[in-house]
């Protein structure tokens, strides 16, 4: 007996957009069973996990604080994925963006000036682009897989950050904690909603998603990205540069991830610390796929992912769930998404080793 996967001839459109919902439903169902096995009240734990983040103004603002960087990064990644450029190292680009942004903040520490924040945005974007330029160069020059290089550079970036906060950028009054000084007023993103941590980062993310949608729908560059991703030969015939597309999509994703990193340090964190994010750069990969590589879908997916972060924190506090629960939830979501995507594209056929009805020959 053997399992065989057969490509389906036609895939209904509703199914393509339906699979994320199916994946979410299956994740919730599995979570229910998981909590039951852990001996918790599954209903109320799920409630804490999924609904409680939406109940208060503070919770909603936190959604935007956490969803913002996810959406920002996923938007950049999705454009790359469309072009068959597999940038897995957004976390490293985010870290570099944070370092560059923090560099500006620390260089002008104590200064006043409305130009400091815009300069930090530029620096953050440049930092991320710089880090993404390395895989782009290696890919276009030597055909090195960007999957490996971008991922490995993530760990290099983390070490660079570690050197800085343990060494030259350590807060002189910080009791030897590996942290930079707290940024001064002019280098902190203003809070939009009083009493919460909501800052302009969320608006930047929405703007980026909208811009990406326009790019993909109305510009030749967006068309080029899609053609290069779907049919490289046709892209050559169309006169589109493969290498140019690799550079464009990596630099764009780097810039957006860099801005996300800078927004984190200039927003909720307010200083440079060794551990900047709970892995936004990696989670954004899930967000990009959950959102069907479509900027509008990514905004929704980013919100879903943000719920899982905040719900996970709430569950730690109120249901004594371990921190790993968040990771498990996100992992299950990706698993179910990939599985249902696969089953949408292929059908499984079980075949016996011998044909069921043997042929009678004369």
């Amino acid at each position: 007996m053997s399992l065989k996967f057969e490509a389906r001839r036609e895939i209904p459109r509703w199914l393509v957009y339906g699979t994320p919902l199916l994946a979410i439903a299956l994740t919730i169902l599995s979570g229910y069973l998981l909590f039951m096995i852990l001996g918790l009240n599954p209903g109320s734990t799920l409630y804490i996990f999924l609904v409680s983040p939406l109940e208060t103004q503070f919770g909603l603002a936190e959604l935007a604080v956490k969803g913002g960087p996810l959406i920002l990064i996923a938007t950049g990644l999705a454009i790359g994925f469309r072009a068959n450029v597999w940038n897995i190292g957004a976390e490293g680009q985010l870290t570099m963006g944070a370092i560059f942004g923090a560099g500006v903040a620390l260089a002008f520490w104590g200064d006043e000036g409305v130009w400091i924040l815009p300069l930090m945005f530029v620096a953050g974007a440049l930092g991320g682009m710089l880090w993404a330029a390395i895989p782009a160069f290696l890919k276009t020059k030597f055909e090195v897989s960007e999957i490996l290089t971008s991922l490995m550079l993530t760990y290099v970036a983390a070490l660079v950050l570690s050197i800085l906060v343990h060494g030259p950028w350590r807060d002189p009054d910080g009791f030897n904690f590996p942290q930079s000084r707290l940024f001064t007023e002019a280098a902190i993103l203003p809070v939009i909603l009083e009493g919460t941590r909501l800052h302009v980062g969320a608006l930047v993310a929405l703007f980026a998603a909208a811009a990406a949608w326009v790019l993909l729908t109305y510009t030749v560059t967006g068309f080029q990205i899609k053609v290069v991703g779907q049919a490289p030969m046709a892209a050559r015939f169309a006169g589109f540069s493969q290498k140019g597309t690799v550079w464009f999509s990596l630099l764009l994703a780097g810039a957006l991830a860099g801005i996300a990193g800078m927004v984190e340090v200039a927003g909720p964190i307010g200083q440079l610390t060794p551990q900047l994010t709970p892995g936004y750069g990696f989670t954004a990969i899930i967000v990009a796929f959950l959102g069907r590589l479509n900027p509008i879908g990514i905004v929704l997916a980013g919100i879903v992912m943000a719920i899982s972060y905040i719900g996970g924190e709430n569950a730690q506090v109120y249901a004594q769930l371990p921190q790993a629960a968040t990771g498990v939830f996100q992992g299950m979501l990706l698993f179910y998404l990939l599985a249902s995507d696969f089953l949408v594209r292929y059908r499984i056929r079980i075949q016996s080793a011998k044909p069921r009805r043997e042929v009678a020959t004369a």
Partner: protein, 523 residues
């Protein structure tokens, strides 16, 4: 071959086979039978249901209704495995061989169960000798010509001792001499009692080879005939279901200004088994259609890419368009000057299968037709242009938003050719204009090319189909292992002369192609 007098059952009989796919009935109550030893032609346009029918016989697909009878008994063919076991062999149009492996290894892979390699080696030599298909089992596939590769596929089938051999468009890639040799093998098989189901749209071949023909149109059997007595025109009309339009062939015209000039074009290949182009040179005058013949794999891909600008050459003057050197320019700058191309492969090269027809219009026409201005796509203009192609070239599609993949091969080809021709190119370079395209679409494409030439454009047609080149072209030259022969006027060219150019330059004597070399290798 007529029915068996003794009343023995036919080798294969199909009764009212019906197969439906979503939205289309591919086979609608198809019945016919093949006698032992009969060479039976299955004739029809692309999309007539030939492939589906053959796949049902070979166990790849399963009929929704109807029965398959084998020697008079109903059989269910669950998969190709079962079909092979009762004695059905098939040689596909596209070969499934591994380039980097030897003939022996490839054949062993295709057989069921483990094979004793030494015995198999001897069997291959034995079978290939018996049927005039010389093969050296130790040669690697990438060193073989297309004709030799086909022999590998045929020998692989013959090793399983088939009672019915299905040949899907077997001659589309062969030189005339190779075709004759193949026919010899098939006639021998037929004389030994093996039935052959021969799928083709080349009517002359069917007349020469086949005992009986079943004609399919729109999934139904629309006629049967004895190809020996029926005229090719008659068969074509049954196939298309309409009176054939005679092409408005142009008379001889005085040679005018040279529009396209290729001079001493050399290019090293960037592909593992590619072909280097060696000092290629030819000229195309205004209103002229110039043909480049040759068996596939002799540098056609490289030449197409060099002419289109996908590959650039260091020496700008080796390609000139209206006198202007363009050799160093990329695809879009050449297109801007009026050089348009139709690559051989429709899916994934000339068109993106998953994108809409409108999006596919952007691929090559966005600048010349001003479908995108300043980097912004004008969706309305793009849809209008796609609509215009669909209308003017009679493309059967729901509309500009249909995905390219939803079109049949012939319709997509009409769309692609239309997309280039409506851009009113100064020079059009087109590869395999009617490859896998039904006769109706082929005639429309040929007519469009004639009209384009009539208006003063220069056209280069790269094709393996000699009939097509002789129909279309004023002059032609043969591409062989990266070199282009001298150009000959088609008016005074004979099939033999061109065939010898095609096979002869291969480094073998054209009189005894390949037999000699391979036989020595075997010994």
């Amino acid at each position: 071959m007529t029915n068996d007098a003794a009343g023995a059952p036919p080798r294969l009989e199909l009764r009212r086979i019906t197969k439906r796919f979503p939205g289309v009935v591919a086979n609608d109550g198809v019945s016919f039978s093949v006698q032992p030893g009969e060479i039976h032609a299955l004739l029809g346009e692309n999309g007539a249901g030939k492939s589906t029918l053959v796949k049902i016989i070979y166990g790849v697909l399963h009929a929704d209704e109807g029965e398959v009878l084998w020697n008079g008994q109903a059989v269910t063919l669950a998969n190709p495995h079962a079909a092979r076991r009762i004695g059905v062999g098939m040689v596909f149009q596209h070969f499934s061989l591994f380039d980097g492996m030897s003939v022996l290894e490839n054949i062993a892979l295709g057989l069921e169960g483990k094979s004793d390699m030494r015995k198999l080696n001897d069997r291959i030599i034995e079978v290939s000798k018996a049927y005039g298909l010389p093969l050296d089992p130790r040669r690697e596939i990438h060193t073989l010509s297309v004709g030799e590769r086909q022999r590998v596929e045929i020998v692989r089938c013959l090793l399983q001792d088939p009672k019915l051999l299905i040949m899907d468009e077997p001659t589309s890639v062969l030189t005339p001499q190779e075709v004759e040799r193949l026919f010899g093998t098939l006639r021998q098989l037929s004389a030994e009692g093996c039935s052959i189901l021969y799928i083709s749209h080349k009517l002359q071949e069917i007349k020469d080879l086949c005992h009986h023909a079943t004609i399919l149109r729109g999934g139904k059997v629309v006629g049967e005939c004895d190809p020996a007595t029926e005229s090719t025109r008659g068969m074509a009309q049954m196939m298309i279901g309409a009176e054939l339009k005679t092409l408005a062939r142009r008379g001889a015209r005085p040679r005018t200004a040279t529009r396209f000039n290729v001079d001493n074009l050399s290019l090293a290949t960037d592909q593992p088994f590619g072909i280097n182009l060696k000092s290629i040179g030819f000229e195309v005058a205004a209103g002229e259609i110039f043909g480049i013949a040759g068996v596939a794999g002799n540098g056609q891909n490289e030449l197409m890419r060099a002419l289109s600008g996908e590959l650039t050459v260091a020496q700008p003057s080796s390609i000139r368009l209206d006198g202007k050197p363009v050799g160093n320019l990329g695809v879009e700058p050449r297109r801007a000057l009026g050089l348009c191309c139709v690559p051989e492969e429709r899916n994934g090269h000339a068109a993106v299968p998953d994108m809409s027809l409108a999006s596919n219009a952007l691929i090559s026409a966005r600048n010349r037709m001003k479908l995108a201005v300043g980097g912004w796509i004008k969706h309305d203009a793009t849809r209008e242009f796609a609509e215009r192609i669909i209308q003017e070239f009679g493309v059967k599609a729901r509309g500009p938003e249909s995905a390219a993949r939803s079109l049949s091969g012939g319709n997509l080809q009409k769309y692609i050719v239309g997309r280039e021709i409506l851009q009113t190119p100064e020079v059009l370079v087109i590869a395999q204009p009617t490859w896998g395209v039904d006769a109706g679409a082929a005639a429309a494409i040929h007519q469009a090319l004639f009209n384009l030439a009539q208006n003063g454009a220069g056209i280069v047609v790269v094709s393996q189909d000699l009939d097509e080149l002789l129909t279309l072209c004023d002059r032609l030259a043969v591409l062989n292992v990266g070199s282009l022969s001298r150009a000959i006027d088609t008016a005074d060219a004979s099939m033999e002369e061109i065939g010898l150019l095609m096979g002869g330059l291969h480094g073998m004597s054209a009189e005894v192609p390949a037999v000699h070399g391979s036989a020595q290798n075997v010994a």
